[in-house]
Symmetry: C2
Subunit: 415 residues, 2 copies
């Protein structure tokens, strides 16, 4: 679903992979007209896994189509001066709702000063690997954050990578936010903005914002490696008698009291506190006593089925969740289907019909519309050249003949 917050703001997106396309998706789901520019034949992320199976050649990417729904697609030969000129013209086209570039392609011909010489109030948002322009990706940034050294019982010598590209995702929404802020600022004061955002800065500033950097500097300490325990309070996973894992969190004192009541542990917790000389009403002391607390709780889960445990946990308002795989989530979690207004059914060309998430934010006061599926590459080339640059059909035909632009690829599954 999309909401018309930004309608009719136009964003030109020249991008690849996750951070910039996901930022563009957030803007599109809030009503912006996001025009993604790609190399003819597709950029370096166009075939990224997972892909649909296909009897010859490769099937369409579920990754690319997921990140580019709700956008228009223009295919241009980025290597030619004429192709680059077209993109510059698209970015710097006149009008209060135009003049915004979102990119992670750090090419000289998309430099801010070059575009600003054509449109002084242009807004450019460039996502980089490192702030000096050098390459970095989520995985080569994450390794430096210290998280793999403490994930899953890992150590600096045996680091454990997490699987979620968390820094790309954070970068995406940070970039979308920065673009929205710059648009608001331009609306009030008329000034453009050159925005740069490095993936590594995203990661390292998060370490500051969560207190880990000050902890390292002032207390000279790194976080301990504590497996599935949560840091700073009490929480861990437990197994039921029917082999299901459940995550339990007792961060607030209300959550802690609920857990103790649910598992009927009042007396044994009191005895444990006395023995350890700790007060578990204080979250830090719960954290200190976490292993002994977990030992008390473990048998409660081990004697119950998921169904029995879930009923009791819900009855006592314990904060908990069930571990799932994605197929299990999709099949069994009531939060991931059409009863949740965030989700919708979608038919993506070359892929078929599937469940898809619209805007994550729900705006109850505003009309929402279905998200359009990701187009075939180049579907909107002619339409955009005509609409934004006012090119006539003869000129557009010439660009096609010269190989500077391309229209929609044929659906290989249709033949």
């Amino acid at each position: 679903m999309t909401y018309p917050f930004f309608k009719p703001l136009r964003i030109i997106e020249s991008s690849a992979f996750i951070a910039a396309p996901l930022a563009g998706l957030a803007l599109a789901q809030f009503g912006a007209d996001v025009i993604r520019i790609d190399m003819i034949g597709g950029g370096i992320d166009y075939g990224r896994m997972p892909r649909m199976p296909h009897h010859e050649g490769r099937g369409r990417s579920l990754y690319w189509t997921a990140l580019n729904k709700g956008k228009r697609s223009v295919a241009i030969d980025l290597r030619t001066p004429e192709g680059r000129e077209l993109i510059q013209a698209l970015v710097t086209a006149p009008g209060p709702e135009a003049g915004v570039l979102l990119t992670n392609i750090g090419t000289p011909w998309l430099r801010h000063d070059l575009l600003a010489s054509r449109r002084s109030d242009v807004i450019t948002c460039t996502i980089q690997g490192n702030g000096d322009g050098s390459t970095a990706v989520d995985y080569t940034v994450n390794c430096a954050t210290g998280y793999p050294a403490v994930t899953g019982g890992g150590s600096p010598e045996k680091p454990v990578n997490h699987v979620l590209p968390a820094w790309d995702i954070a970068c995406a929404y940070q970039a979308a936010f920065a673009v929205a802020a710059a648009v608001d600022h331009r609306r009030r004061l008329g000034a453009g903005a050159e925005l740069k955002l490095a993936l590594s800065d995203m990661a390292f500033s998060t370490l500051s914002h969560l207190g880990l950097l000050a902890e390292a500097e002032l207390l000279q300490q790194d976080r301990p490696s504590i497996g599935n325990h949560l840091y700073g309070a009490f929480g861990r996973d437990f197994g039921t008698v029917d082999g299901i894992r459940i995550m339990v969190a007792a961060i607030s004192s209300g959550q802690w009291k609920a857990l103790v009541r649910c598992c009927d542990l009042g007396e044994s917790v009191a005895a444990l506190q006395a023995r350890m000389d700790l007060d578990f009403s204080d979250e830090a002391q719960r954290f200190e006593g976490r292993n002994a607390i977990a030992d008390l709780i473990e048998p409660w889960f081990a004697r119950r089925s998921l169904r029995e445990a879930a009923m009791a946990l819900d009855e006592h308002k314990v904060c908990w969740g069930q571990y799932r795989t994605v197929t299990d989530l999709l099949a069994n979690d009531p939060r991931v289907n059409l009863t949740n207004p965030v989700f919708e059914r979608m038919v993506t060309p070359g892929i078929g019909e599937h469940l898809s998430a619209g805007a994550t934010v729900r705006a109850s006061t505003m009309e929402r519309k279905p998200t359009k599926p990701a187009p075939w590459l180049g579907t909107h080339t002619d339409e955009v050249l005509s609409e934004v640059l006012s090119l006539g059909s003869a000129e557009i035909g010439r660009l096609h003949d010269a190989g500077v632009v391309a229209g929609p690829e044929l659906d290989p599954t249709a033949s």
Copy 2:
């Protein structure tokens, strides 16, 4: 550092923990006047670990102060009708730059319709656990995403939690973005907005946006558990002779060629491709051959020191990074110190001087100012009541006497 994009937009933040406070921080670092309201004595996150050591009682939280820098602090007794009336009045105060609430406290007295009856164009952004208003935290949402079932060689029976509160972080920037979009929309069209954002929707919509949900539905498959390998191309960690772990990524074909050249593996890679009947110029086939490729690369690292490996990797423009702990990062990584304009030194009351991250986005065309440190709780109570609500000193005195509001706590370390 902060940039004056939103100056003088005013946000009233009634919050706890990470997602809402981090959204407020992003807005504050872009120039908004973010006024955080807390219970007198501090909300449930005020003492969250890590804390400074203190000879009696507890030291100040490095977590709370990190998330609340750049904001003003007002302390109000949230349990009293008069205190709640004050907060409603702060949210609905007149003026084009006022009338925005950011919260994750789902209390009836902060309901949108109640506030909208006092100011029809009010913007409220409420972060929830689940969309139905039930409780969920990062840990109890993450378990359902499928990631712990494939992290670090984990399985559904032995899930591995990642340590980074990634959904809280994504939620924060998504919320900041939604607020900025709604402000822009209100500026153009005069309408307010009721924004709701559930942590679980943030996680599950990400599964859609990255293609995992369609993969589960259309291909009936879950991602494999592949340890430190990256999915869909080639990348893994390797160890040097001096015991350092290094992450290498070869996602694009340029990165793959660079890696093969750097490790001088042209011939053995060609032989491996022939033997396995795979073409590693295709990322999916690199992924298929990942274990055999890693076996070829491992000895190259095992024979070199970090210094030797780093020189060769940089010379060949391989995409790589070093695993670190946070203390190691702070001591040795040139991206985390004052040569990086994202960072600044800061003196936080009750904590001392430390490195701190300003706005992650750099706006080269705009003047930036140092971020103000997190205040003591209640530092701005009187100032805000006077400035925003035009209360006189007699009335403010009466509110203090009645225990409805409180001024700054005394610095316990100063006595």
